[in-house]
Each structure stands twice: as C-alpha cells, then as structure tokens.
C-alpha cells in the first residue's frame, strides 16, 4: 500500500523535471517539497533545533476534561483510569484472555467521530477519548457517548475504573517522563540568522531554508517536550504480528512478557482509530493483487507479501478480529524498546512521535 506522501513526492519530482527548463525557482520549490516529503526527518530536526524538544500544544484542563484549541476547532479529552481487573494475563487461559481482550476492543473502541488514546504508564492503564468539533456542547455529548461505551467494555472485561478529572488527564497527556524544553529566544535568533542567508544566498540549500521556515511556523505558540534523562522517545513503525496467524498461546505469552517486563516505568500511548470499511477491504485487495502480480511475474517477494496479507485477512474473517489504524508513542529505555521489538513491536527513535498525544 503506497502512502499519499509517496504519490505527492512522485508528482513533485515530475513537476520539478517538467518546470526546470521554464522556471528554475519553481523547480527548486518543487524539489524542496520533494525533499521535505521524502525526508520529513529534516523537518523534524529543524523543529528540534528550534525548540530543543518536540512542540506540543498547550492544553487547558477543566474539572472533567482537557481542551486543546486548534484554529477554530476545539479538541477535547475525556478519560478513564482502569483501577483493577478481576483477571489478567497472569491467571487467564489463552482462550479466555483472547476473548476478553478482544471484547474490550470490539465493544469499547467503535470510533466514528472520536479517537482513542490507550495509555500504559507505569503499570497503570488509561483510556482517553479525543474528539474535535466547533460546538462544545455537541463535543461533550460525543465524548460522553464514547466514554460510556468504553466503560461498558471495561465492565464486560471485568475491570473497574474511575473517571479522570482534568488534572489527572493533564498528568497522563503531559506525563512527567516528558520534560518541557526551555524555549530560548537566543536559539530562535541563531537559527533564523543561519537559515535566512542559506535560503537567500545558496539556492541549492533552499530545502533546508524551507524546512527551517516551516519549523518556525509549526513551532509557533507551542512548548517543546523531550524525554527525561535516561529515556528515549520512539514511534511505532509496525506491528509484525499483524502479518501472521499468531496462535492464542503466542498472544498470551507476549502479554505476559509485557506484564512482567515492560509495563513498569514505561509510557506507551497508542492512538487508535477503527479502520474504515475501505481500509479493511484494502487488506484483502492487497493480498489478492500481490498474489496475482507475484505469480504472473514469478516474483517470490510479492508472493511472500501476499501470504502476509492473507494471514491478516484470515484473522479478520475467521477470528472476527477488528482492524484498527494505530500510531504509537513509546517513552522508555533502550532495553525496554528491545524487548518490545522481540515481541513484534517495531519502534524507531523519532521525537515527532509526541504528536500522538496532541
């Protein structure tokens, strides 16, 4: 599945090639866009250079909710903290664990007009619901509706919970493992002085100039955050088990590893959205297409790719597993990241992962 960013980058490349002979400036701009699209890390580095950390918007926490203003919209957060579960991976059988866990996701995370943040922090578990809109009353109704559904799911799973107040939400959305970086006017001035001549005098460095400019704009009005000492910020790149027909005992044994080795002193935030029907369909389509193309061209890599997608498709149909679109932030030590990698969660160090909790 090719991302929209790759399509846009290809178009930029084509545009740059076509316009090069007519307008050098336009071609350079398109090349800069291509560069920024293919290597967003440059943009991220520029943002970090300016902020000393990744910028996150300020949140205003009220009695029961937190609010974030984005342009003309409000984004509000409601949340629950799971206080106890009658059972866990430590005493459930494989089938019971799988059945209860998937019940939680299937009943609680129905999506639509909200996103879910599943946050694991220091052996605590939080479900935060985020919804955006212009009408605060409508927003409240939406969040209440989703929160009740999450509570119903927790109840079915045998868990007790408590609703989080604004201050608790703030502590979870801006956890103490992330420390605010000082916004130094000096750093801004130095970065501006360096970037401006580069952009004006050395056209081949225009992309850097653009990236710096974008970074200035993006960082405006936001405080930077970085991981506390000894920890790193990682972003979730892929979940390897997605492509395999993992047995229930495998799922339980991975859960036990997380329970005993990783859950402590670890901050893991997953932004989860139930996949749209067309995204679900895309899994099947990708399996068929890569198989057809692979067999036609006798390309083993494509046939192998098709088997991976077939495994995912089988799980969807045979086990009735729901599909979710997930982005993840991990703030942990390197050893914890390695353990998670061994159980199939691939993370890379990327400060921009903090966007998950904004």
């Amino acid at each position: 599945m090719v991302s929209w960013r790759t399509y846009l980058a290809a178009l930029s490349l084509l545009g740059a090639l076509l316009t090069a002979s007519h307008s050098r400036l336009l071609a350079e701009l398109l090349a800069a866009l291509l560069f920024a699209l293919l290597t967003p890390e440059v943009l991220q580095l520029a943002v970090l250079a300016l902020n000393g950390g990744w910028p996150l918007p300020d949140i205003l926490c009220l009695k029961h909710a937190c609010l974030e203003t984005t342009g003309r919209e409000y984004c509000a957060f409601y949340g629950v903290k799971v206080t106890d579960c009658r059972h866990g991976c430590y005493d459930l059988s494989e089938k019971e664990f799988f059945s209860l866990s998937t019940t939680f996701f299937h009943v609680g995370l129905v999506g639509g007009d909200a996103e879910y943040l599943l946050i694991t922090w220091n052996q605590h578990y939080y479900v935060v619901i985020r919804a955006c809109g212009k009408d605060p009353y409508e927003l409240r109704r939406t969040l209440e509706k989703h929160l009740r559904r999450v509570e119903e799911a927790l109840s079915l799973t045998g868990c007790s919970w408590e609703r989080m107040n604004g201050q608790s939400l703030r502590r979870v959305l801006r956890p103490s493992c992330l420390v605010p970086s000082g916004r130094s006017p000096l750093r801004l001035a130095v970065a501006g002085l360096v970037l401006l001549p580069l952009a004006l005098r050395a056209p081949f460095l225009l992309p850097l100039g653009l990236a710096g400019l974008a970074a200035l704009l993006l960082s405006q009005g936001r405080g930077g955050y970085t991981a506390a000492s000894g920890l790193h910020v990682y972003t979730l790149v892929s979940i390897d088990s997605f492509y395999s027909l993992a047995s229930l005992s495998d799922i339980l044994s991975r859960a036990k590893i997380v329970y005993s080795s990783c859950a402590k002193d670890l901050y893991l935030a997953l932004r989860v959205r139930p996949a749209a029907p067309e995204e679900e369909q895309a899994i099947d389509t990708e399996a068929y297409r890569s198989y057809e193309v692979g067999t036609a061209l006798e390309k083993l890599s494509l046939i192998h790719r098709s088997t991976k997608f077939f495994a995912a498709a089988r799980r969807r149909w045979e086990r009735r597993e729901a599909l979710y679109v997930v982005s993840g932030l991990l703030v942990a030590t390197q050893s914890q990241q390695k353990i998670l990698e061994r159980i199939g969660l691939r993370f890379i160090r990327l400060p921009s992962a903090l966007e998950v909790i904004s």
């Binding site: 799988f98 605590h124 979730l236 790149v237 997953l270 729901a322 979710y324």
Partner: protein, 349 residues
C-alpha cells in the same frame, strides 16, 4: 497546521484486535490492585510493596502456614513489630518457648512457673465459661462423655473462686490430671486478664511440658481475652493481636473464635505447619492467609484451598525461603510475595 504536522510526521500502522490484546489490553497491563498502607510484608513479583491493611480487610484473623524452616515464626514476629508501629498491642502464645519471641517483649510469662488468675472471668457468665471450658477440656484430654460433669465441677470452682472443688475430686485420675495442669497455671493473687490485656506479653511454656497442658493454657488465655474484650464493647478497630504458634493444638476452638471475634477489636493469627492440620473452614473465615514455601505435596494441599496458577505454585515450590503467597479475603488472586522482613524479626539478629 496541527493536522498537517500530524499527517507529515506521525507514522500509522495497521493492527488487528489480537495484536492489540498482547500489549494494549488492560488485561495485559493492569496488575491486581494493591494496598498502599498498613503492615508491610514485602514486594510482589512486579516489585510493588505489599501491605496488609487491617482497615480494608473484613477481619484481621490470619493464618500463616509453612513447613519447618520456611520462616513462619519470623514472619509472625515481623507482623508483631509492624503491628506495634501501628499502635497495636500483642500477645504471643508460644509453646516452644523460643527466645526469638521473648526477645521482642519486655514482659515474658513462663506458664507453669508464672501464674495467672483464670477464675476471674470478666465478660463471661460463670455457667457459660464453665460450659465452654468443659467442652474443650473434654477434647483436649480425650475424656469423652465427661463434659457435663466437668461443667458442674468447673462451675463450682468459678463460684467459689478456688480450684478446691477440683482438688477434692482428684482421686479420679482424669480429674487429677486436669487439676494438676490448672494448678500450674492458676493462682488467686496472680494478675487477671484485665491487667494482662493492657500490655504486650509473650507467653511461653517449659520445654518439657505436655501437649495437653499447653493446649489448656492457650485455650484459657484465649477464652479469658475473648471475655475481657467483650466487656470493652464492640470495636472494629484493630487494637490487639494474638499470635498463636502451633495453632493446630487448638483447631476446634479457633474455628469458634474466628466465627465470633470479628467485632471485638482483636485478631488471632494462627501459625501452623501443614494446611491439613487446620479445619478448612478456618481458611474461609480468615481475613488473610500467608502460605510459605514447601515441598510438592504441601503445595498440592495449598492448591486445594485456593485456585493457584502454575506460576503461583512454582513460586512457593522452587524457592526455599523468603517466598510466599498471600491471599486476602475479598481478593482471591494470590500475590506472589517476596518477604522483606525486619532484621529484628530474625532469630540470629
């Protein structure tokens, strides 16, 4: 701008609910809820401190079970010290006369040499006390059918405030035996239970005393305390603790105690070696049970009382000392406990 940033920098991936179950389900993350205050016992398998909180337990009666050398007396001493920090006074009734217990107390009574007044029974009607005592004496001394005769004799003793009615019948060997034992415990001018209950005391026995004597003395102490606590009125606060070593000697009376004494502000912690030595109903009534490590057949017996997972079984099977399972009423999930006991609780300290 935020949306642009989100689209540009946040990587998204697909996951099925089975994938999320392994690491993002509450069942994979949330450990059983743990107390944050009370009497510290140690840490659990996740490194969290584990407490016994008297205020959150329906009763503070407890059972410590473990084979020889597993550390049950050390744990009991640790509990005594922890309780002391909470302002709770304690008695220990120790048939072995261990120095390690005596070391913790400023007042030690060697029953047989030191006496108590067992005929001063506050909180009891004389008939009630004699009935109860006769019932258990019948069992302790194995003189079945003698309960009602004994009741009458003991009632006379209580009414006269002297053991002479018993002494007068001492030509009967069974009665003589009871009289001899009671005479070793009782003295009219000795301190009454009212005085004894006001302080922390270690009750011990001579090394070569009989099992019947030990049982009778322990029984009398518990009965007297029970009556005295009743005179103080109902109290749900944890004010006094009795550690009863070799509790299986008194298994029948313990059942009665565990059923009755919840509301009188004191608790009995029964220390015993094997789970089968106590009535299974005691495990159902106790506010908490600590099972220390032991061999396989012992662990199998523990598994009959509580549903244990393989991990929990292994925890007390493969670790010779310092490992225990804690089960509290209201929370049937056993905690894998790594005991962290005070230095003073150890015999060698």
């Amino acid at each position: 701008m935020t949306k642009l940033l989100d689209r540009l920098v946040v990587k998204k991936t697909y996951a099925l609910s089975g994938d999320l179950a392994a690491f993002a389900s509450p069942l994979a993350v949330v450990p059983p809820r743990e107390e944050t205050s009370g009497m510290l016992l140690g840490t659990d398998d996740l490194g969290r401190p584990v407490f016994l909180n008297p205020s959150s337990l329906p009763n503070m009666h407890g059972i410590i079970v473990g084979t020889t050398g597993s550390g049950k007396s050390t744990l009991a001493r640790h509990l005594i010290l922890e309780a002391r920090d909470l302002g709770v006074s304690s008695w220990v009734i120790d048939p072995h006369g261990e120095r390690s217990y005596a070391r913790l107390y400023s007042r030690v009574l060697l029953l047989g040499a030191d006496r108590i007044n067992v005929l001063d029974t506050p909180g009891w009607k004389s008939s009630e006390f004699s009935s109860e005592l006769a019932r258990y004496i019948e069992r302790v001394y194995g003189i079945s059918g003698a309960r009602f005769v004994l009741r009458e004799i003991l009632l006379k003793c209580l009414n006269r405030g002297s053991l002479s009615p018993l002494e007068n019948l001492s030509e009967v060997p069974e009665v003589k035996r009871i009289y001899d034992d009671l005479a070793q415990i009782h003295e009219d001018s000795a301190p009454s239970v009212e005085e004894l209950a006001a302080s922390s005391i270690c009750f011990t026995f001579p090394q070569m005393s009989s099992r019947e004597f030990r049982s009778l003395a322990a029984l009398l102490l518990l009965m007297l305390l029970q009556g005295y606590r009743r005179t103080l009125g109902e109290s749900h606060r944890f004010e006094h603790m009795v550690v009863l070593e070799e509790a299986h000697y008194l298994a029948p009376y313990l059942l009665h105690l565990y059923q009755q004494t919840r509301k009188w502000g004191y608790s009995v912690i029964a220390v015993t070696q094997l789970p089968r030595e106590l009535d299974p109903r005691l495990y159902q009534l106790a506010g908490f049970v600590v099972a220390l490590s032991g061999p396989e057949s012992y662990v199998n017996d523990i598994s009959l009382l509580f549903s244990l997972t393989r991990d929990e079984r292994d925890h007390i099977l493969y670790k010779p000392r310092g490992a225990a399972l804690l089960v509290r009423q209201g929370d049937p999930r056993p905690r894998k406990l790594f005991l962290k006991l005070r230095r003073e609780a150890f015999p060698e300290a």
